[in-house]
């Protein structure tokens, strides 16, 4: 049993220490918003926050997450003022939607560290997140919109 703190809640998790955090979150704890896409930190669908940093949970061992604050898409969504999600709705970003949890988790860290990113900053910060539906142009625009809302504390319009 390992103790994990996910979205401000303590869990006793029956997981072998070599189990990637992704499977502890999905298969053991049962939070399925964090997605499995590649299993080797190539696609970013499994992105979560570990002490505020975006990590690929499919290659992050459970043992590394012990004692840290883990936030998943479910935890991020608990904040009703999430500008990213507002911008995602405003610009109709998702298509199949499978990668979008990971996209939003990566974008959240970008906006925390860089409140006014350029296209290049966005391309670079989001380079680890693949979207096979190719929603990239809308993700880029939505990050700009969310950044604007965050700076102005409003709708960004």
């Amino acid at each position: 049993m390992v103790k994990l703190k996910i979205n401000q809640k303590e869990y006793s998790v029956d997981a072998s220490p070599d189990m990637p955090l992704l499977w502890a979150i999905r298969d053991v704890v049962g939070l399925t918003g964090t997605k499995f896409g590649c299993g080797m930190a190539q696609c970013g669908a499994c992105t979560v926050h570990l002490d505020g940093e975006a990590v690929r949970s499919c290659v992050t061992l459970v043992s590394r997450a012990v004692g840290k604050e883990i936030v998943t898409i479910e935890g991020l969504s608990a904040n009703p003022d999430n500008y990213l999600q507002k911008a995602w709705i405003e610009l109709d970003v998702p298509q199949c939607g499978y990668c979008q949890s990971g996209q939003i988790m990566s974008a959240a860290v970008l906006l925390k560290e860089n409140p006014d990113p350029t296209d290049e900053d966005i391309d670079s910060a989001m380079s680890g997140n693949i979207c096979r539906c190719g929603t990239y142009p809308r993700i880029r625009k939505a990050i700009h919109l969310a950044a604007k809302m965050q700076r102005e504390g409003g709708s960004g319009k």
Binding site: S16, G37, G39, C43, D92, C96, C133, P137
Partner: protein, 735 residues
């Protein structure tokens, strides 16, 4: 089943006769009646007081339930089909509860005859059925209100889920029970387009909120108490068979519950994915590799090049091509080469399956639930109606989740049968997905064109080589006179052919062990590149502007022209570009829609291509949800760009060389254009699709831009690999 539902069922049967008349039939799968047509499935069990048809129920609590005959895989039909009902029913589209329908006969495709989401056909094929479903329900609600209010139906008005007459009003929920008891009406008139509130104007996607907060359920997210997760060790080579299995070490891994052999390999069942995957890694399996071990894609290409020197089965013939070619002032010859491609949807394939006695239930993201239902039933020795298929959100489809062989559903059924366990989720790893076959086939096009003194084509000789995707499937009946239409679509029906009096198009369909399948835009994935690449080469040979040359050839094709001209205008065709930027253009019709694209590129320092901007115009007839149309074209552009620049599956000694996104490279954000602009041609032409037609023109638009940048022709995909060897062996000089 409640009495109310029984009444509703009868209503459906009566109403169904009305709904099934007058539908556009453009193409029917031969023998479709025998396929996926389990008739005694129960359909939606909403218990709703008013269930006038299979597509729409209304509860006494005023909940409007929409059942989709098609699957949502990103293309937006969750929203579009709901809009059609909402407009006729006069309800707020944002207050509807949308869900996928079961595998059930009323959800069979109105034109194709099986339950399928594919062929970019959902919107046009359901446009009448879903509007009529809403209109019929509205008529019954009005009738119920008229009786309740003691007025005539003509005195009643409907708006926002209410019927009003004078000072009297009732919600649809309040009228549901009474409406549910009424007999089905006859033909109900549909609204005049000027009265549409949503259609043609647009609605934000109804599935966005669930897809950005982690609550949307994909197949991968199915979880039930007592469920085991299965991971399969697949054959290393297509068609290989298990000889011996040593599972001792695998069974000793904590969490591993069982190891079973199935026809395609060995399945490890465990408490969770990680344990199952570790168990799989510990298996020792000896394989009988079979003939598949000989497959080598490089050797296959050499063989295709040889084959292309000989004529294949005629697919299109007019006049005397050899005689016309001999009289041509100039001839141009080119060979276009396309690799195998994996679909690689973000969600790896998975199926959750439950077996209780003779009742089976399946949860999966599928484009063909009826076919999967039949396949699972066959494996399990059940009747199709004993298998319930629940379609959940698809984490991408692109054709991979419409497999005539039902490979992944069949595999899950084999696992539950062999294991004797009640509930199993089978999960493919990314490597299983990339190495698992069902690829867009490798293709080769060899084209010779003859030009007259004005530089216009007068002779066209075209040989296509590539595996048939229909062969060996229940679609094989569509192969006519040895021609799989999916191999030649976009060539035999190309609008350019009408302007060329003497032509011969032939096809070779070699067979091998590699499973192949449609891949977003099917034959057009290669034929558009071959046609639009070649036309561009002819414009060059004729010394003409690439846009003007196409305009001349397409002068009797107004929808091609409209898209072409709009894209050219918006892209600023002919206007100066910044230093180092170059444009290329292409236009192609597929799935009844006409799409033109102008790509703007520059070259990276290593000679590879950077695409900065793509301007696209589409004529799809009525755009039901215009921003949804734009989103699909953007998506098609990036999906096509991924294949044009980066994508390739290759095989050596029967083994697929790629396995994950590190070596099966797909477009990331930085690979994609900073600017994608989509313009919709104002059109009252026949409705077409939008899911696929954005894909085909991308590759030729980029290749043609590359020619304008370098004077060299790209004829082999993926381009960012081909640019390095282009001089060496791909450049065939013009004669």
């Amino acid at each position: 089943m409640s009495t109310t539902t029984n009444v509703s069922r009868r209503n459906f049967l009566k109403t169904g006769a009305v709904l099934s008349s007058g539908l556009l039939i453009s193409f029917t799968v031969p023998g479709a009646k025998k396929l996926g047509a389990a008739t005694s499935m129960v359909g939606p069990q909403s218990g709703a007081a008013f269930a006038p048809n299979a597509y729409l129920h209304i509860t006494a609590d005023n909940e409007v339930l929409v059942y989709l005959a098609h699957a949502e895989m990103g293309q937006g039909i969750w929203t579009t089909l709901s809009m059609m009902i909402a407009d006729e029913l006069d309800v707020d589209v944002n207050k509807m509860t949308v869900q996928h329908g079961d595998a059930w006969k009323p959800y069979q495709h109105t034109a194709f005859g099986i339950q399928i989401t594919g062929g970019s056909s959902t919107t046009w094929s359901e446009f009448d059925r879903y509007r009529k479903a809403g209109a019929t329900a509205r008529a019954l609600l009005v009738q119920a209100a008229a009786q309740k209010f003691g007025v005539s139906p003509s005195e009643c008005k409907t708006e926002n889920g209410m019927v009003t007459a004078g000072d009297k009003s009732a919600t649809y929920g309040e009228l549901a029970t009474a409406a549910g008891a009424l007999p089905a009406p006859g033909e109900v008139p549909l609204k005049d387009p000027k009265d549409w509130k949503y259609i043609g104007k647009g609605v934000k996607r109804l599935d966005t909120p669930a897809k950005i907060n982690g609550t949307a359920k994909f197949g991968m997210d199915m979880q039930f108490p007592g469920m085991l997760t299965a991971v399969v060790l697949h054959a290393p080579v297509f068609g290989a068979k298990v000889k011996t299995v040593d599972a001792a070490k695998a069974k000793s891994i904590p969490g591993v519950k069982q190891v079973v052999q199935i026809p395609g390999g060995v399945a490890v069942l465990a408490d969770n994915y990680w344990a199952a995957k570790k168990g799989r890694a510990a298996l020792k399996v000896d394989w009988d590799l079979g003939s598949g071990v000989k497959v080598d894609s490089a050797a296959m290409l050499a063989q295709y090049k040889q084959l292309a020197k000989t004529p294949g089965t005629p697919a299109g013939k007019e006049g005397n091509v050899d005689s016309a070619m001999s009289k041509a002032v100039k001839t141009v010859e080119a060979e276009y080469v396309f690799p195998y491609l994996a679909h690689a949807p973000m969600e790896p394939l998975n199926v959750t399956i439950q077996l209780k006695g003779n009742q089976c239930e399946i949860w999966t993201g599928t484009q063909m639930p009826g076919i999967d239902q039949e396949a699972a039933a066959k494996v399990l020795g059940l009747k199709p109606e004993q298998v319930r298929v629940n379609t959940v959100f698809l984490g991408g489809g692109f054709g991979r989740r419409a497999t005539p062989a039902s490979d992944f559903v069949k595999e899950a059924a084999e696992i539950i049968k062999a294991s004797g366990k009640p509930l199993v989720k089978m999960v493919w790893s990314r490597e299983d997905d990339v190495k698992g076959g069902f690829y867009r086939p490798m293709f080769l096009h060899k084209i010779t064109a003859g030009l007259n003194a004005e530089g216009m084509p007068v002779a066209w000789k075209h040989t296509i080589v590539g595996q048939s995707i229909m062969e060996g499937t229940f679609f094989a009946g569509m192969i006519k006179d040895g021609i799989d239409g999916a191999s030649v679509e976009g060539v035999v029906d190309s609008p350019y052919m009408g302007a060329i009096p003497d032509r011969l198009i032939t096809l070779h369909s070699p067979k091998n062990e590699v499973p192949v399948l449609w891949w977003r835009s099917v034959g057009h994935t290669h034929t558009a590149m071959a046609m639009e690449g070649m036309i561009d080469e002819l414009a060059q040979a004729a010394g003409k502007d690439q846009l003007a040359y196409r305009q001349e050839l397409l002068k009797s094709h107004p929808r091609h022209l409209a898209a072409l001209n709009l894209a050219a205008e918006k892209a600023g065709w002919g206007k100066p570009l910044p230093e180092g930027r170059f444009r290329g253009i292409a236009v192609h019709e597929s799935f009844l829609s006409y799409v033109a694209q102008v790509a703007e590129i520059s070259l990276n320092s290593d000679g590879t291509i950077k695409v900065h901007r793509v301007v696209s115009a589409i004529d799809c007839g009525l755009a039901v949800n215009p921003d949804g149309v734009k989103a699909q074209i953007e998506s098609g552009i990036n999906y096509g760009l991924s294949a044009a620049l980066l994508g390739e599956i290759s095989l050596e000694k029967g083994r697929v060389k790629q396995g994950n996104f590190n070596d099966y490279v797909v477009a990331r954000m930085f690979d994609t254009p900073a600017e994608i602009e989509v313009y919709i041609v104002k059109s009252d032409g026949k409705m077409g699709g939008v899911g696929e037609p954005g894909v085909p023109p991308v590759a030729p638009a980029i290749a043609n831009a590359y020619f304008n940048a370098t004077g060299r022709r790209l004829r082999q995909l993926p381009f960012n690999k081909a640019v390095h060897s282009i001089e060496a062996d791909m450049h065939i000089p013009h004669t």
